[in-house]
Symmetry: C2
């Protein structure tokens, strides 16, 4: 099924990118996504779409890529990628995906990240990865509950184990170890999902697609609810500090970013996740019982946001 | 000489910190350094001094630390640290140093970094490390030349090989690989300088001290020359973008930062190097023949700034 499937999944991802950009533009009402198409000298390329200085979105990227070529050595060295009889020199790979990070202007609208990716090798190895997670500058418990319920619904339609398993994975993955805090309220994260036969793999693909499809309706509901909330200079200051943490996570821990930086990837597309403005303040201390302190208390692993 | 030397060097570093902070405060004329003393549960501690929102200095840190305890395993595993017959469990270390990063308000005043550090183990291993490097938002060739001549003078007073050797080391170290550009115009960098006998080691100490002592007069000359230069919103925007690069270097490459993040160091002191405000803009392109483009053309390794 491989060649046909590659084409189908690539087309589906391109359409998803287009659809998400259109919906975000409509919501923004001012700025449009620019289109930056690029080629990879070793094979393939991508289209990075960027929105900046909008009414609602200060900076956001929706990136599509589909790259292929000789399998990098570090991937060949992984046990799960090598099958008996492989000749490393003949090994080729294909990888495609859509990645999104949106930094809104209003501190009461959350930052969001979504990524879905597909990888295959000519030896039959294939897998799916992805996730969606929310980083509110201020955690509103109703919004957090809505977000997790929405994600759980998508998961439950495919397998009852998905939400608890992938929710924990997100808590563990989106963790800023040196700050001992989560990046936000998490969501789901999964990597290297695979199945032996095509029927089961296509079931995984259905789940994976539904993660991509839930991005726009879920996020836009949170955007619409909060985009007109009044904010002060102090709220904006806190937003910039939280974006500083986002930068710390992405540059220090994020595997996709590290992979891109180490493999001479397309740097602007990799770092599109960074905000237009961010701030660091020495030893910031939130005031007692402030909204900021309430948020810090919720930046922990293993909080069940469904119970609220 | 060890115990006596440790005490002497610690006192000398504390005095250096005090002297540098006083001189910077006097230059700033508005803000004063706050004092944040901290203890390390495994032994030792430090004093982090921070200036914020000054007339001249937007955010700066001058940190002193002196820590000791059981040698971490990863240091014991290094060949140069283990001597025959060592019992790892009995190994202890002592490390002290002063680290400085200053982010000025005016885009025409350069960012500066200086660090000197001393390390010893109870098996007799001891070394000195350090460096000073300049990151102008806009590279002024006269200032760059002045800076390198000043540093060369300090080096030449101790050994004619120091400047060329440590200048190259700085070019290689302060390099943002994923951007293919240097962090700034470099300076000098050296690590693990040691000598077999005390006389030679004390000569290294003399050089090392003179690096610390040259910080204030060298930097303040550049500050005084440029702090009243008029700037526009565009200059400020460029400054924020260059600070974004500074964040990238420190979080992705800087060994001291990585070491601190991975060893549960005092996070606020480690990340004091990050600016109050920074910015990222997708695929920024400098205009032809602009000051920004001229600066980008000089962010390369192996430029001889002495020749200007």
């Amino acid at each position: 099924m491989s060649l046909q499937f590659k084409d189908e999944i690539t087309l589906w991802l391109k359409n998803l990118q287009h659809s998400i950009c259109s919906q975000l533009e409509q919501e923004d009402g001012k700025s449009y996504f620019s289109t930056d198409a690029w080629d990879r000298s070793e094979g393939g390329g991508g289209v990075t779409r960027i929105i900046q200085d909008g009414n609602v979105f200060e900076k956001g990227g929706v990136a599509f890529s589909a790259v292929h070529g000789k399998t990098p050595d570090f991937l060949m060295n992984e046990k799960e990628h090598s099958v008996p009889g492989d000749k490393p020199n003949d090994s080729t790979f294909f990888a495609t995906g859509v990645s999104i990070v949106i930094h809104p202007a209003n501190p009461f609208v959350p930052i969001i990240h979504m990524n879905i990716r597909y990888f295959e090798m000519n030896n039959g190895v294939r897998w799916l990865g992805g996730g969606i997670d929310l980083t509110p500058h201020y955690i509103n418990i109703d919004d957090a509950s809505f977000f997790h319920h929405s994600i759980k619904k998508v998961c439950d339609e495919h397998h009852k184990d998905y939400y608890p398993k992938f929710k924990k994975w997100a808590d563990d993955y989106f963790f800023i170890n040196h700050r001992n805090e989560t990046r936000g309220i998490g969501g789901i994260f999964f990597d290297r999902l695979t199945a032996k036969d095509d029927t089961d793999f296509l079931k995984l693909v259905d789940f994976w697609k539904s993660v991509g499809e839930t991005f726009a309706p879920t996020y836009l509901q949170l955007v619409r609810k909060n985009k007109h909330t009044d904010f002060t200079k102090e709220h904006k200051n806190w937003q910039l500090l939280r974006r500083g943490r986002y930068v710390e996570f992405n540059l220090v821990y994020d595997k996709g970013t590290k992979f891109g930086l180490e493999t001479n990837g397309r740097i602007e597309s990799i770092l599109m996740s960074l905000p237009q403005f961010a701030s660091w303040q020495y030893n910031y201390q939130a005031k007692q019982n402030s909204l900021e302190e309430q948020t810090l208390q919720l930046l922990k692993k293993d909080i069940n946001f469904l119970k609220f």
